[in-house]
Every structure is written in structure tokens, then in C-alpha cells.
Amino acid sequence: MNLTIFLLALFDGISYAALVFIVALGLTLIFGVMRILNVAHGSLYAIGAYATVSLTGFFLALGFAPVFAFPLMLVSAVLVGVLLGGPIEWLLLRRIYDKPEVLQLLVTFAVFMILEDVQRLLWGTQPYFQASALQALGNVTVFGVTYTVYQLILLPLVAICLLFGLRFFLRHTVIGKLILATTEDREAAQSIGIDADRVFLFTFVVGAVLAGLGGALASPTTSILPGMGADMIVLSFAVVATAGLGQIEGAAVTALMIGLGRSFAVYVWPEVAVLVPYLIMVLVLLVRPEGLFGSPVARKI
């Protein structure tokens, strides 16, 4: 393996990891705060992508410049969060916080099934492609290899901004601290007057926005088609569990591990490339049951 190939694998891994991280971030945030593993996260990701493609197509047809695709990604993500995430929490999840984990998981699974069909009803079955955002940024050549600026620079940049932004938000803003307090001890938080319901609603909407943003950012590089959410949800599950549920920085490191592991596998042993995320997950969890960055919970007697 020479330097060029090493760099290539590195680039591939980083751009892939950035995207996976953004999606996993929302999942781990929701789990960290609400202890709910949201299977419908994958659908929100897909719908974010569909919405971006439709909006971009619409505005480009009106004669807007391709750069306009970027703000539209944000708009789509927020739409997904508010129009889907909000009602899901408000109408469904709120009713089941006191139910067993299994039922909570199944409720999100049911939402996943419903949203899969909603996508098909709204957008049909033909794949969509909308690469104007990607084309607007052009290419960059590094060591004789052409890579898109979008994948090599923009995606990692967004991922890093989100990572540090969310860290800052949780630790240094009032709402962030309220969220952390609720995460630590819900009852204690309620006893000092924190409205846990609103914290949960807010968290879920933010998580859904992140899912939508993941889809929006993925849309210029991939075909948008039915079933794209199911794959993504399993992958981001693997990232989140490997990192330790609720671990934001951990999710970043794990996404990078999985991204790099996958891209190097393509060069070294292509047959196992698909296996990499799960192998990493199993190996990590065998050694550290609580995930790479999770901390064990002591049982009190």
C-alpha cells in the first residue's frame, strides 16, 4: 500500500464517516436524553433527503442559482424535525415513556413502517438524483486523485461544527443545561421545576432535524430511493452502540473508526467491507460492554 492509496482510503473513510456521524448524532442524542432508541430515525433521514431533492428541484426550476441548494438543505432538515419529529413525540412517544423498552422500540418501528410507505406515496418508486449542490462546489485534486470538495471538505466540516456546536450547546447554554439535568435524573429535574415534557419534545425535534440534515447532506451524492432509511438506521445503531449510548464525542470517534475500517477494507480485503461496522461493534462490546465511551452503571443493593 503506497502513500497515494493510503490517502485515498483515508479520504474515503473521512467523508463517509462524516455523513454517518451526522445521522448517528441525532440518534444518540435522543437516546441519551430520552432512553428511546428511535428506529424511525432512518425514515426521517430518508425523508430529509427526499425533501431536499424536491425543494431544490422546485427552486432550480424557478431559476435560482445552484448554491441555493445549501440553505434548502437546512430548510428541509428543519421541516422534517418540526413537521414529523414534533408530532411523533407529541402524539406517540409521550404516551409510552412509562412502558417497557420493548414497546417503546416497537412504537418507533411501527412509525418506521408507516413512514416507509408515506415516502413511496409522496415520491413514488423511481430514484431521485439532485447533485447541484455537489456540482456547485466543484472538484479538488489531491495527490493526483480527484475528489469532490463537497465530500472531502464540506461534509467533514459540517460534522465537526455539529460536534462542537452540540457540545457547546449542551454545556454552556441554559436549554442545554436543562437537557443535561433532565438526562441525569428526570424526577429530580421535575422537582426543581423543569418541564421534562418540553425538554423531551425539544430534544426529539433536534434529533429529528439532525436525521433530516443527514439525509439532506447525503442527497447530492446518492440516489434517493425507497428503502434507503433501513440501511442507514442499522449502520447508525452500530455506531451509537459501539460508542456507548448517548456519547456524542464517542459517536464521532466510532463513526471515524467504522468509516476508515470500511474504506481500508475495500483495498485490503473487499469481501469484508460490509462486515466492518458490525465486527467493530461486536469486538468493542465484547471487551467493553458499555461501549467505548460509556460508563458502567453500578447496581445498588
Binding site: F11, T221, T222, G227, V266
Partner: protein
């Protein structure tokens, strides 16, 4: 004594009874197609087309006065739902003919089932060449070509248009079609142009959202030719990303199924790459585009769906044509009002029929002989997407192994003269 009489009376009556079936109120047929899942890119257009064919025929009074009614079965609902629905439609709903299926895996499951249920089955879209090579069927027919004829046409076109290429890499979907089609293509290349070097073989998982890694490697490998038999979203993503990264400027792509992605790819498929269509399926078919029925259907389809038809629509048209022709032939041959099953099967043997493309016929092993259309992409500006130029239509006969021979063994025995020996017609566009 009485019994004996009855028996002999029955014996006399039997052949007569076999001569004519009661004319049903409607001809029920079942059709499996992908309504959900990634392959619905083929399944839904085929269903929409089938609705048009049926509507048109019923408007003319159906087959010998019998209107057709189609029940669709979703292949995307999973194997259990598919097999139980298939049985229900064939047995309880009394479908006389089944059209199944798109997925090769489903064909392999349903072909023996059809045989056991004794229901005539037209394999309308699946590509696997194995079905009739590994087993012979009485009830199963394929009114279309198969992977062998499709891949050989692609190889032949490549050799005719790019005789000097030296290296090739493949990026196929990781499932039976992707693997099988590469086996055939590769074997054919080795036989016909032994010097070609395979520099990379990639089988990213079916439905992969990202091909950046594969494209990075291809950029480093710089093969003369990149083959991909992918389809649907996978092909779109791969071509888009390859185009974006400039890979399409340095390598010639051979995309035997890209006809079905032309419209979606728009300007992302630049000029000079090889496009195929699993048969002679192209909305600007050079021999057919001026025909009234062809044009009429294109307009009807465009009105109904807003799209141009892709190859699965052509395959549906062929299956429908085979069905209609077989019934008409059986009725005419036997001089009956409505054929029974045996008469229908007899009519299907060696049947000649024509769908939207060139005429086809069924061989004695029930394999259809279908012409293959290949072309090179061109961005003419006439449409907002690539169209084809330098089109060649290969006669199907030469692209299939003789009856009873397995494709791979037959291909191994071919040589460089194969492409020259094919019967082919060339068109500018």
C-alpha cells in the same frame, strides 16, 4: 353392464371434452412485479404499461370476446407473501396464466411451483440463464432473452467499437445478477480477446448509497473500460459519482442496463459510453419508432405516467403479446371458442409474437429469442438526457447457446471470430 356403457360413453366423450374449454367470462391472469422495494423502478412502469395494454385490448373486445383481468402480486412483499399470493391467485382466483417474475431468485422459486400447480407461466422479466439450462419445464416459458444473450451483445458491441482496449474493471451489485452477468461477460472476453487484463472486481452491496471508495480505486487503477451491469438507484449513484469525479473522462463505461436510467441520469451520462437495454428496448427504436402502434403506445404511456418507457415496459409488452398471440393461435388451430390448457401450451411451443420491439419466437426449450440493441450515449440537446447513437441491433439467434447446452461451457468454446459472425444492423441513431 350399465357401468361399462357409461365408461365407454365417457371414453368417447373425453377427446371431445378436451377439444374445447368453456369460454370464461373474463380471462384472469396474475402478474408478479415489484410494487415496493428498489426494483419497483422496473415493476411499477411494467404494471402501468400492462394496465394500458389490457385496457386497449379490452376496448377492442378482448381475446375472442373475453376481456382480460390482471391481478398484480407484489414481489417486494417478501418470499412468503409472494408464494402464498401466487398460489392463491393461481388456484383460488382461477388465473389461467401467470406472469412471473422480475427477480431471478423469484423465478427460480416460482418456476417449479408453476410446474407443480400446472399453471402456464410466462417468465416475463427475470434474467437468469439457468432456468432452462438446469431443468426442463412443461408449463414455464420465457418471452424474452436472458443474461447470456444480453451480455454477449454487450461484449460484441464493445469489441466492435473499442477493439483496442487492454484493461477492464467491473463494479456490479452484489447479488446473483451482478455475479452471474460478470461470469458470462468475463468468460466471453477471455474467449474472444484473451489479452484483456481484469484490473479490478468490485461487488459493493446491493443498494449501496455511496461508491466513493470504489471510484477512488478506479481512479488509481485507470482501466480502459469499466463494466457495470447495475441498475436502478445503484447505477444512478455510481454513474453520477463517477461523472462527478471525472472518471468518465478517462475510462469507457459499458452499462448494459443503462437504458433504464437514461432519463434520470440527465446530463450526468456524458457522450461516448456504451448503453444496453436487455433486449431491443429503446423508446426511439430505429426500426419501430415510426410505426403507428409504437408511437401510439409511447404517447399513451407518456400521458399516463409522464415518463418515457424503460425496458421492463417492453418486456411486459412481449409477455402480453405472447399471451394474446398464444390464445388466438390456440383458438384458430383447434377451431374452438376457447382453448383448454393443453391447447394453450401447444400454441406456446415455438410461438412467434411481437411486442414493442422486434418479433420474437420461443425455442423448443421455451427460451425466447430476442434481438439485442446496444448503442453509445450522446448528448444531442434534443432531450434533457442522453440518447443513443451508433446503434446496433443484434439478431438474437446467434447470442444463445444451442438448446441443451449450458451457457458458460458454450461461451468457453467461442473465439475472436464470434463478433464478426453475428447478424447485426447498424443505425446512426
Amino acid at each position: 353392464m350399465k357401468t361399462l356403457l357409461t365408461t365407454s360413453a365417457l371414453c368417447v366423450a373425453m377427446p371431445l371434452a378436451a377439444m374445447a374449454a368453456d369460454k370464461p367470462e373474463t380471462l384472469k391472469i396474475g402478474m408478479t412485479t415489484f410494487l415496493t422495494g428498489p426494483a419497483s423502478v422496473f415493476g411499477v412502469p411494467a404494471r402501468d404499461a400492462m394496465d394500458i395494454f389490457v385496457e386497449n385490448l379490452n376496448a377492442e373486445g378482448g381475446i375472442n370476446g373475453v376481456p382480460i383481468e390482471v391481478t398484480y402480486i407484489d414481489e417486494g412483499a417478501g418470499a412468503e407473501a409472494l408464494t402464498s399470493e401466487y398460489r392463491r391467485v393461481a388456484q383460488t382466483e382461477g388465473a389461467e396464466v401467470m406472469l412471473a417474475s422480475i427477480s431471478s431468485g423469484n423465478c427460480q422459486t416460482l418456476a417449479p411451483l408453476a410446474e407443480d400447480l400446472k399453471v402456464p407461466n410466462l417468465m416475463w422479466d427475470c434474467g437468469t440463464q439457468r432456468i432452462f439450462e438446469e431443468q426442463s419445464y412443461d408449463y414455464v416459458f420465457r418471452p424474452q432473452g436472458n443474461a447470456t444473450s444480453e451480455m454477449l451483445a454487450a461484449v460484441a458491441y464493445l469489441l466492435k467499437t473499442h477493439p483496442d482496449f487492454e484493461t477492464i474493471a467491473v463494479v456490479n451489485q452484489d447479488y446473483a445478477w451482478g455475479r452471474d452477468s460478470w461470469d458470462i461477460f468475463h468468460t466471453a472476453l477471455e474467449a474472444m480477446k484473451p489479452g484483456v487484463k481484469v484490473v479490478g472486481e468490485f461487488f459493493p452491496k446491493f443498494g449501496a448509497p455511496d461508491f466513493s471508495t470504489e471510484i477512488s480505486r478506479l481512479q488509481a487503477l485507470r482501466p480502459d473500460v469499466v463494466l457495470s451491469t447495475s441498475w436502478g438507484g445503484d447505477l444512478d449513484t455510481f454513474v453520477q459519482q463517477a461523472f462527478q469525479r471525472g472518471l468518465m473522462n478517462t475510462s469507457t463505461f459499458v452499462l448494459p442496463l443503462a437504458e433504464s436510467s437514461l432519463e434520470r441520469l440527465g446530463s450526468s451520462l456524458p457522450a461516448g459510453h456504451i448503453v444496453g437495454a436487455r433486449g431491443d428496448h429503446y423508446f426511439l427504436h430505429p426500426e419501430r419508432r415510426d410505426d403507428a402502434d409504437f408511437k401510439g403506445f409511447m404517447e399513451q404511456y407518456k400521458d399516463a405516467t409522464g415518463d418515457i418507457p424503460v425496458y421492463s415496459v417492453f418486456h411486459a409488452s412481449q409477455a402480453f403479446a405472447a399471451l394474446k398471440t398464444a390464445y388466438e393461435k390456440a383458438i384458430a388451430d383447434n377451431g374452438v371458442d376457447w382453448p383448454d390448457e393443453d391447447q394453450l401450451l401447444a400454441a406456446l411451443d415455438g410461438l412467434e409474437f411481437q411486442g414493442l420491439g422486434r418479433a420474437l419466437h420461443l425455442r423448443e426449450d421455451h427460451q425466447g429469442v430476442e434481438s439485442q440493441l446496444m448503442g453509445t450515449s450522446a448528448q444531442t440537446g434534443e432531450y434533457p438526457f442522453a440518447t443513443l447513437e451508433n446503434i446496433m441491433i443484434f439478431d438474437g439467434e446467434g447470442l444463445l447457446p444451442p438448446v441443451g447446452e449450458a451457457s458458460i461451457d458454450w461461451i468457453k468454446g467461442l473465439d475472436a471470430s464470434f463478433a464478426d459472425g453475428l447478424s447485426v444492423k447498424t443505425y446512426e441513431n
